[in-house]
Symmetry: C2
Subunit: 441 residues, 2 copies
């Protein structure tokens, strides 16, 4: 399997762009199916050799446990796994292709990732992430660029500054707050997992969980005091944290970074969306600096997030390479746009017209007509079966194609075509050139 | 995991289009990595819970055999597999969503497929196919549309009629030729596999293989006579086949269909590319009617192919639904375009300009400048680290960005910027508006 570096992807996009343009100009519509299918769907379709070439995905959980009784463990059976996110593959690529990529590598990547999770609303086993990351620089400009691109995407999709917030925190601040509450370094990660659930299970729930995780009562009370604060507004939060974090160097450094970001964001699209929130933890363990999360107003779950991870690439390259990135969850954004009716009415890609077929005898002329329209850049579907117009109109309506072209023997003789609007019921008899003009108008 | 029907895909493409536009306007470049990674790349990066959520792919071949000694078979361990092509998933979708798709369903699908094959030149374990199929109609117009779209893509990519041929054959003709050579129906499939190797291993090799596959000597000799014919030109091949296939109904019906296709292709982009070739077999067992393959002149391997498969969907739906389609192999097309230097010089997507950073003090102004350029639709990269221009120019050159913008304290004071062309070495000092005009020109 291969990695496609930017030059490769651009070449692929060029070809795919033309393929899609032609395919859709012929009235084909796009379909996407998951990378995994049930084994019984796949087996017996490709011949004996094909069955051997299928990558099989292991069973999981209890089912696997029952089978594994007699053999060592699941790692013996599997030698590869599906992408879990796009950050670890980037880290591997950044380490592997150090000589081929620029010292500062700005890449984006939009691909599906796979998690053997229990599916739920807005949570799937295959889902797309839209990631962007800057590898190779420790400067905070990197965070600003990443946050701005995130804000810009949301605003270009039609979300206003009231619809979303970029919550902002810093690993240094989290560490500093743990420090001043007296949580031992070894328990920090575990305490964070509990704190992260504050929104879901409330202060009492978190207190219970902190206890279960072996956090001393005093420390737990301190954490809850610190993290359940109702202080709002960036400057108030900054001054409150400045007081709390005084004894912690890491905390003060993290706070200074976030102050810088908020102050400098004034000229960027992220201005006005940033909200400092010391209770933001984010699950993944690889973050080392600023962390952020997109909160969509009234949506409950995050639509994306990211942060700085200066140690991850070093796990592959042996050499410390800093990085910072952001990932947008495509499924959740689409769910929101759909719920709020924010998709444009006419999405590019649908056929613009259906060329009907009157009879076997008009077929040659119908084919030529479709060919001319496609050549003029119009997405033209051709009904493949000559016969009753009613059936062909119904097909057009079902596909959401508003206009149909009729061309019987009389029209062919006169060198004209009839263009019918199925929505209004009106029709006009025009020349091919006029028809092209009407359709591209 | 989900299927995305056309409406879903269009919505996804809309969002992805905007995400890509914004991401690339910020100077990010696209990267793609394979769906599978080594397990040791993935494990230990996402915490304990993450490790549990990774889909594991089973070992294969001998390695698996050694582990499997004590347990029943590999199907016990796996419950799903990765896509092997895009046709079987389409057949499943067409059966599963009968109520949601039009009676005639024209879909295209561009996604990676996976085969646990030995990698070779132009052959990978993960590769993209660009498929288009028409489900639900038995009319030959379907074959014409599919062949035309294939020819149109190749011509839009810059291949002339001399660069490629669409080889055409028919399962009925293959069956008819077997019949007249006295090959028993049970041996047809096996004899075809041998005949398919004629190009690679020659007549003698095929004769030997036919013998090994238990084809009687007389039948084998007949097959070789029939399939090694040097007859060229569609009309000559048609008249030769017409003589040979007389005793076979299936053969004559198949031949009539191909005659119809060649005759009617006159008004379509496929005109002049179709070449009737009775030795074309195509491996997959699901084809039932016309079959075709793209032969790129001087390339040796096929760049795509397809055909009619009227029985495959019935395996999922229990109801016979006809279909016909074509698949273009993206990797091979890209390989050819690259070898023949056919890619356009400037592929859309690269940053058009790099905004350099003079010092920490000019950062705010640099951010604002980048923001303005991006808002004007220009893909503008921003160098994240203030410092020496030389280093920043080197970065631009490495990324193939021809123009850089310089803005030091003097320029900021005067409200101008310097636009430098790294290729010619010339530079001019202009206003922001002039700069935008120059870059969008």
């Amino acid at each position: 399997m291969r990695d496609f570096l930017p030059g490769d992807v651009l070449r692929r996009k060029y070809v795919v762009g033309i393929v899609e343009e032609v395919y859709s100009s012929y009235g084909f519509e796009p379909l996407e199916t998951p990378a995994m299918e049930r084994l019984d769907t796949l087996l017996g379709k490709y011949g004996e050799e094909g069955d051997q070439l299928i990558f099989r995905v292991m069973k999981r959980g209890e089912k696997l446990g029952r089978i594994l009784q007699d053999i060592p463990d699941e790692n013996t059976l599997a030698d590869s796994g599906l992408r879990y996110d796009l950050t670890v593959p980037l880290a591997r690529v950044a380490a592997e292709y150090q000589a081929d990529i620029p010292r500062v590598f700005k890449r984006y990547q939009i691909q599906p990732v796979y998690r053997a999770d229990r599916p739920a609303r807005g949570r799937f086993r295959e889902f797309y992430q839209c990631d962007l990351d800057i590898v190779g620089s420790r400067e905070l400009t990197v965070e600003l660029e990443v946050l701005s691109a995130a804000a810009e995407v949301l605003s270009r999709l039609g979300f206003s500054n009231e619809d979303f917030t970029l919550r902002l925190n810093h690993r240094g601040i989290l560490h500093g707050l743990m420090e001043v509450c007296g949580i031992p370094p070894g328990k920090e990660e575990s305490a964070l997992v509990a704190i992260d659930k504050l929104d879901k299970i409330g202060a009492e729930g978190v207190q219970k969980e902190l206890q279960e995780r072996g956090i001393a009562e005093e420390g737990a009370a301190g954490l809850l005091r610190v993290f359940s604060s109702e202080t709002k507004g960036n400057s108030q939060v900054i001054s409150r944290l400045g007081g709390l974090l005084e004894p912690s160097d890491a905390g003060m450094k993290g706070l200074a970074e976030l102050e810088w970001l908020i102050e400098r964001s004034g000229n960027c699209p992220a201005a006005g969306c940033l909200r400092l929130d010391p209770s933001l933890a984010r699950g993944l363990s690889y973050y080392t600096g600023a962390i952020f999360e997109v909160e969509m107003t009234g949506f409950g779950v995050s639509a994306g997030g990211g942060g700085r991870y200066d140690d991850l690439i070093g796990m592959f390259s042996g050499k410390k390479i800093p990085a910072c990135g952001f990932s947008l969850g495509l499924e959740r954004i689409i769910l929101l746009l759909q719920e709020r009716n924010m998709f444009p009415k006419d999405l590019a890609g649908k056929p613009e017209v259906l060329v009907t077929l009157f009879s076997e005898e008009t077929l040659a002329s119908g084919l030529e007509l479709a060919h001319c329209l496609r050549g003029a850049g119009i997405r033209a579907d051709l009904y493949p079966e000559p016969g009753k117009y009613g059936k062909q109109f119904k097909y057009a309506e079902q596909r959401g194609i508003r206009r149909v072209i009729l061309q019987g023997p009389d029209e062919i003789e006169q060198g004209v075509i009839t263009l019918k609007d199925l929505e209004t019921g009106t029709q006009e008899t025009v020349s091919l050139d006029q028809c092209v003009a009407l359709l591209t108008r």
